[in-house]
Symmetry: C2
Subunit: 226 residues, 2 copies
C-alpha cells in the first residue's frame, strides 16, 4: 500500500548525534562514553517523566541528563561548557543519506514529516543548522502531546494532522524502542539499525530493518509506489 | 510524623541481585557487565511497555531482556541455561541488613510491605528463598495495576490497601527512578544508595538518602517514633 506520509525521528535518525562527541572531547576524559551516558539518561528521564506524568521539555531533560552524566563521570563543567554542550544538540550534522532520501520521497509525492522528542524551537534550529529544514513538510514535537515517545499520544499527532489511519504512515527511526512504539501504534515501521544492534525482543517488530536511509529509499522505490 | 506503613522495593533493595553474577559467571565472558545489561534492559522494557500500554509480566520481561543481553554480548544460551538464569531472580540473597531492619520496624509497630515489579508468585518465591517472607505484612505486585513503577497507579496500591494518604507511607528503594516516582506520588522516600550513585537530577528528590538499610533503622528510631 502506498503510504500517505513518511515520518522520521530526528536525533539519531536524520541527525547524527555522534557529532556531540567533538564538543564533549573538550571536557570529558572518555567522550564516547560520556555522550552515551548523557543520551541514555536523557531518554531514561523522558520515559520516567512520561510514566510519572511529570512533563518537562527536552531541553530541560537534556540539561538534567548532562548534570547527571557529569556527576557520574566526575567531569566538572563550568556554565559556559554546560551551555555549549546543551546547545550542541541544535548543531548536529545530518547523516549524508538523509537529504537524498527526503528529496526522493518528496519527488515521489510523499510528504515528509519529523516527529521528535525535541522542542519545536530546538528541532527547528537543529534542522536549519543541518541544512535539511526545507526538505520537510512539517515538524511535529512531543510538546503538543505533553508526553514522550513511545506514548501513543505522540504517534497520534501524525494521524490527527493528516487524518489518516496509523498504517497509512511509514515511520523511520534508529531507536529500537521508538520502532516498537510506532509499530504498537500501528504504523509501518522501518528500523534504521546503522550500528548493527540486536533486534528488540519485546513488543511488535518493525516491518523492515535497514542499515541506512539509502535502503529506505530503495524500499520506497520498490514497495511504496502508487 | 509517624508513618502508617513502611514500603520496600524488592529487587536491589531488600534482595541483592548481585548474586545473579554467580549464575551468569557460568555463561558470560564478563558476568558483571552481562548482569548490568540484563537488568538495564529489563527496566527499559518495563518503562517502554508501560508508556505504550503494552503490559507483560516481569518474568516475561526478564526473559526478553535476557535474550537481548545474550544477543548483544554474543553469549549463546541453551534452554537449560536460559531457565537457570531466569529462575535465579527467585533465588537471590537478602542483604544482611534487611531482616534486622524489618524486625525492628515491626517491633516498633510499623507494618512492612513489599511493592515490587515482580509477579506475585515470583516475589513470593524470592522472599521465601531469601528467608524474609515471614517478616513482611503484605507483598503488593504491580500486576494488580497492570503497569510498572514509577506509574502512580502502582504506588496507589499501597495507599488503597491501607486507606492512607501518600505522605503516611515511607518508601525505601535503591533505584533512583523509583525514589523519584514515589516522591512524585507524595510518599516520604528513603533512597538507599549503597553504590554511591549520583543523585537524580530530574523530579522531586528523596526526603532521605542513606547508604544502607541500617541507616533506615536509625532514621526510624530517631524520626518515626509515635
Amino acid at each position: 500500500m502506498k503510504p500517505a506520509v513518511a515520518v522520521f525521528d530526528l536525533f539519531g535518525t536524520l541527525l547524527d548525534i555522534a557529532s556531540l562527541r567533538a564538543v564533549a572531547a573538550g571536557v570529558a576524559a572518555d567522550p564516547d562514553a560520556f555522550v552515551a551516558l548523557w543520551r541514555e539518561k536523557q531518554i531514561a528521564y523522558s520515559f520516567a517523566g512520561t510514566i510519572m506524568g511529570l512533563h518537562e521539555d527536552f531541553d530541560a531533560l537534556t540539561g538534567y541528563a548532562l548534570a547527571y552524566a557529569a556527576a557520574k563521570t566526575g567531569t566538572s563543567l563550568d556554565p559556559a561548557q554546560t551551555r555549549r554542550l546543551n546547545e550542541a544538540w541544535h548543531a548536529v550534522a545530518a547523516y549524508p543519506d538523509a537529504a537524498p532520501l527526503l528529496r526522493a520521497l518528496r519527488e515521489g509525492g510523499l510528504p515528509c514529516v519529523v516527529l521528535t522528542n525535541g522542542t519545536p524551537a530546538g528541532a527547528a534550529a537543529a534542522l536549519a543548522n543541518a541544512g535539511i529544514a526545507e526538505l520537510l513538510d512539517a515538524t511535529l514535537s512531543v510538546e503538543a502531546a505533553g508526553a514522550y515517545k513511545p506514548d501513543p499520544r505522540v504517534y497520534a499527532l501524525v494521524t490527527a494532522r493528516y487524518a489518516i489511519a496509523p498504517e497509512q504512515a511509514v515511520f523511520v527511526t534508529s531507536n529500537g524502542w521508538d520502532a516498537t512504539g510506532a509499530a504498537a501504534f500501528g504504523m509501518q515501521v522501518a528500523w534504521c539499525n546503522r550500528g548493527g544492534a540486536p533486534a528488540e525482543t519485546f513488543g511488535p517488530p518493525p516491518r523492515w530493518t535497514v542499515s541506512s536511509l539509502d535502503e529506505v529509499a530503495a524500499l520506497a522505490a520498490a514497495e511504496w509506489s502508487p
